[in-house]
């Protein structure tokens, strides 16, 4: 009986397709009140006066709290989880991030007051009647502008709006020398625009304090319930952790934006204690746009040097990364350790230097969004590659290939040590590119393109060969890099007396299908049926501890923790089986859910051993009853999936509209447990990456107003914007975790964006456009570029 590698239909689907999912907003508690948060309409404003008296007298209003009420209790605000110091050794500038502001609003959407009422409508009505007098101050939204002398200051403690500056790789002087000695240098100014994650379920939270037990329950739309509990208890509210249960029930998508501990989670918890009633807050979509952490927002200058044969000689990158007004949970790590460290790409570049300035601006916080740093790095590298190929009149696929790191499996050949701190685990980069070229029919396409150009049709092909670092991450490594937490995962495997198995994982599923994939791993290892396994996640009261789901880590780290516990179950089970079979443990083998004495027909099933463990009448000496093990798995390294993506586009010569005709993705994510689910993850990532290339982008004006903060204004891909995808896989197992898996959640999003942009630039080749076109490549931008 084997389940690994099979496209098992998802076990969790039935509740979702019948409307019986249990999302945070579906939860109704007795006596529940509704909170609505009044938010600043200005990006930078002093709060001169707040008058809540009219609002407090309105129907249904239970209470109104302002930032002052919270500050008076000594609560400072939500912390960040990473510390990235200045190159000089100076400490990162870390201003407080209050739950509600009391003196100054620092971005549109900063919380001013919370109204709690009997109904959501009453709370909204009353919030409209709060009178706030603002003194509007000058604002800055763009990270490069924030660095200019005289730019409005976001925090007094951060001169020049710099939170940290950071550098990695070979000494800058060495890189400059290598560039100077190069045959050709490709230099680009690249903007990786700000994106809004836009999980379709808006964030929501319910705080529930029960005075009879002196206990709190927080229901929240989180990818990361245990870390939320730790941060909220220890660093925000100062309440004992054992008095708080955090539940992340069904969660409607996250993409990074639900990793972080948000102010509203602490706020409803605090309010519930004050009122001794449950308090529910659900974001409107407009509110999500101005309070969920955004992603990307880099302004980069990059130079890549080449020798006369096209081999990369050096790479120098300088990036202004927008962090927003406050440091969100992972924010300092994203443009540094998840971005600068990826600048080796798949290439043998001998000299690399990258510097990053973390910038405060009057915008909502920027943090991890699907791919988190790695898409930005890949975009820089892959745009440089295609532009260089064009400038040197080389084939873009060939230019990549001659620079590839040769294949290595991490077992017989060592891992590849990069110039930027990482050691890649295993890779075979030619294999994915070969397969992608074969699928696309490269030579035929070039002929078709040539013929089309003669007819005035603009076809283009674009490549992207990417690597990413996921399965985050070894605790000691991330600790040395500034993480304030470890990044292991926990798993408990509880074998019930009847041989049914409950698994408690610290990973959290919000679409990834853990309830199926993890069950496949368990059923396979134990030789039992899938129906005999349940996967429990998302409840701090059920699961001992966890670090949550992000960075494509669930299977590589969480799955490995499960395997560790399964191995302990089998080890103890063998002792019980040996006793029952009157044989030595060494003489047993375990297959198909049974321990058998080798070379005999004597055997005992898993269920009988489980029952014996809980009814230990005839039992081995010195063995404890029960069959229940917990493990923590701390990975030995990151994992490094990679792939080759190819886009084919047609640009309408009259209107500049880009149509994506084909998208080919060949990814190598290591071993695969459930191909159906992995393909689904790739598809979703592709859509988001293509969305960035062609449609999406948060637009802030110079006053810090988000101009497209609604689904009517922010263009996300719809069904008729995308083609069906052509995906395939290669398998280079991860050498350092027991499942050989690498992670698939972000790959699609990392590889696809530059492939699409490169395809558009290829289509526009007859126009000789020199300047890089800024994403998203809207018809207007493309049309203007064609006009010269």
């Amino acid at each position: 009986m084997t389940f690994i590698g099979k496209s098992v239909k998802r076990l969790e689907d039935k509740r979702f397709i019948t409307g019986k999912g249990n999302y945070t907003d579906d939860i109704v508690l007795p006596g529940m009140t509704h909170g609505y948060i009044l938010r600043s309409p200005y990006a930078h404003a002093r709060i001169v006066r707040i008058d809540t008296s009219d609002a407090a007298a309105m129907p249904g209003v239970v209470a109104i709290f302002t930032g002052k009420d919270i500050a008076e209790t000594g609560i400072v605000g939500v912390p960040t989880g990473w510390q990235v110091n200045f190159r000089s050794g100076d400490t990162m500038k870390e201003p407080p991030h209050p739950l509600l502001v009391s003196d100054k609003a620092l971005h549109v959407g900063d919380g001013i007051a919370i109204v709690i009422a009997e109904s959501r409508e009453q709370a909204k009505d009353a919030a409209d009647s709060i009178d706030v007098e603002y003194e509007v101050l000058p604002a800055v939204a763009n990270p490069a502008k924030a660095a200019q002398p005289g730019a409005p200051l976001v925090h007094d403690i951060a001169p020049g709006n710099v939170a940290f500056d950071w550098e990695l790789g070979n000494p800058r002087a060495e890189v400059d020398a290598a560039l100077a000695a190069s045959h050709h240098i490709t230099e680009m100014d690249i903007v990786n625009q700000r994106l809004v994650p836009n999980a379709i379920e808006p964030r929501a939270a319910i705080g529930h304090y029960e005075d009879a037990y002196d206990k709190y329950t927080l229901y929240t739309t989180s990818q990361n319930p245990h870390l939320t509990r730790l941060l909220m208890c220890a660093f925000v509210l100062g309440i004992p952790e054992h008095k708080v249960r955090v539940v992340a029930p069904d969660v409607g998508g996250g993409f990074g934006s639900k990793i972080f501990h948000y102010a509203e989670e602490a706020l409803v918890t605090w309010c519930s204690r004050r009122l001794k009633r449950p308090v529910k807050w659900v974001a409107d979509r407009s509110e999500s746009f101005i309070t969920d952490a955004h992603g990307r927002d880099h302004v980069t200058r990059a130079q890549m040097g080449f020798d006369k044969d096209g081999r990369v000689t050096a790479l120098k990158v300088s990036t202004y990364a927008n962090l927003g007004a406050y440091l969100s949970t992972f924010a300092p790590a994203v443009p540094t350790y998840l971005h600068g460290t990826l600048m080796q790409g798949l290439y043998t570049t001998p000299k690399i230097n990258v510097e990053v300035f973390g910038m405060f601006t009057h915008t909502v916080a920027v943090d991890a969004y699907r791919g988190a740093g790695r898409p930005e790095a890949t975009y820089v590298l892959e745009r440089l590659m295609d532009t260089a190929a064009l400038e040197m009149n080389m084939d873009p696929a060939e230019l990549r290939r001659i620079n590839f790191i040769p294949p290595f499996d991490g077992v017989n050949q060592p891992g590849y040590q990069t110039q930027v701190a990482l050691q890649y685990d295993s890779g075979n980069y030619d294999a994915v590119l070969d397969r992608a070229l074969e699928m696309v029919g490269y030579e035929d396409f070039r002929k078709e393109q040539e013929a089309a150009r003669k007819e005035g049709r603009l076809l283009g092909i674009g490549f992207s060969t990417y690597i990413e670092a996921c399965g985050i991450a070894p605790s000691a490594v991330v600790g040395a890099l500034g993480a304030r937490a470890g990044l292991y995962e926990s798993a408990q495997v509880r074998v019930q007396p009847t041989g049914k198995v409950s698994v408690y994982t610290g990973a959290h599923s919000h679409g990834q299908g853990h309830e199926t994939t993890f069950a496949q791993v368990v059923a396979d290892r134990l030789g039992i049926s899938l129906e005999d396994v349940e996967i429990v996640h998302g409840d701090s009261e059920a699961v001992a501890f966890g670090m949550g789901t992000y960075g494509s880590r669930s299977l590589a780290v969480g799955g490995s923790a499960i395997v560790k516990s399964l191995d302990k179950v089998l080890e103890k089970g063998a002792k019980i089986a040996a006793h029952k079979l009157e044989a030595a443990v060494e003489d047993l083998e375990y297959t198909g859910g049974r321990w058998t004495v080798k070379g005999s027909d004597k055997s005992i099933g898993f269920g009988d051993v489980a029952l014996t463990a809980y009814v230990p009448h005839d039992y081995p000496q010195g063995v404890e009853p029960g069959l229940d093990f917990s493990s923590f798995y701390d990975p030995a390294n990151f994992t490094y999936p990679f792939g080759a993506h190819v886009a084919i586009v047609e640009v309408d010569a009259e209107t500049g509209k880009v149509s994506l005709k084909r998208f080919i993705a060949v990814d190598d994510v290591g071993n695969v447990i459930n191909p159906m689910i992995v393909e689904g993850q790739i598809h979703g990532g592709l859509a988001q990456g293509i969305g960035q290339a062609l449609l999406e982008g948060a637009i802030y004006d110079d006053e810090g107003q988000l101009l497209n903060g609604s689904y009517m204004d922010y263009a996300m891909p719809r069904a008729d914007d995308l083609p069906s995808f052509e995906v395939d896989r290669k398998v280079t197992p991860c050498p350092h975790n027991p499942l050989g898996v690498k992670g698939a959640g972000e790959a699609g999003c990392i590889g696809s964006t530059p492939a699409v942009v490169n395809a558009v630039m290829d289509a526009l080749r007859p126009f000789g456009i020199k300047k890089d076109l800024e994403m998203p490549l809207t018809p207007e931008r493309v049309w203007r570029a064609m006009q010269g």
């Binding site: 397709i17 907003d25 979509r285 069904a719």
Partner: protein, 163 residues
């Protein structure tokens, strides 16, 4: 001021008092506790709240509860139960047409509307029909396959019934 309405939801009649400003989606979710219809936006753009009103797909966040007075409404809960799935629900499971599941009820309802009007849709017909509904997880690829599966399944049913 409360207003009395009479609606049929998933074949069952309800008489309820609602506020004039109550949206249909909140009536379904809060009063009838049918939480399959989800609220994903405030601009009628995401389609997570889609239900059938007198057989036609409608975004229930853009309809007042009082406007539904006298109407027959089908929500995802009325399509099929876990042990008796509608071909569309089956299709979403067979073809991995859902990940987080939040947009799924709306997708199923809008696809039901499509297949009533067009039992044999092309891929582009399906993509156009779904373009009022956002999914951020699947890239739509497998949602299209799910609807194609249901269309086939429902055509077979029709053939069997006709025979």
């Amino acid at each position: 001021m409360p207003v009395r309405i009479q609606v049929t939801v998933n074949g069952k009649q309800y008489t309820s008092e609602v506020e004039a400003r109550d949206l249909l989606v909140y009536y379904l979710r809060d009063s009838l506790r049918l939480t399959g219809a989800h609220v994903g936006c405030d601009t009628s753009s995401c389609g997570a709240c889609t239900v059938l009103i007198d057989g036609q797909a409608a975004k229930s966040c853009t309809v007042l509860a009082v406007q539904a007075d006298g109407c027959s409404i089908t929500t995802v809960e009325g399509m099929g139960a876990p042990d008796s799935l509608h071909p569309l629900q089956e299709g979403f499971r067979e073809h991995h047409g859902l990940q987080c599941g939040f947009c799924t009820p709306g997708m199923i309802m809008v696809a039901a509307d499509l297949l009533q009007r067009n039992p044999d849709p092309s891929e582009m017909d399906i993509r156009h029909a779904l373009e009022g509904n956002f999914c951020r997880c699947t890239g739509y690829h497998n949602i299209v396959r799910s609807v194609q599966y249901a269309a086939e399944k429902m055509k077979e049913h029709t053939k069997i019934n006709a025979a």
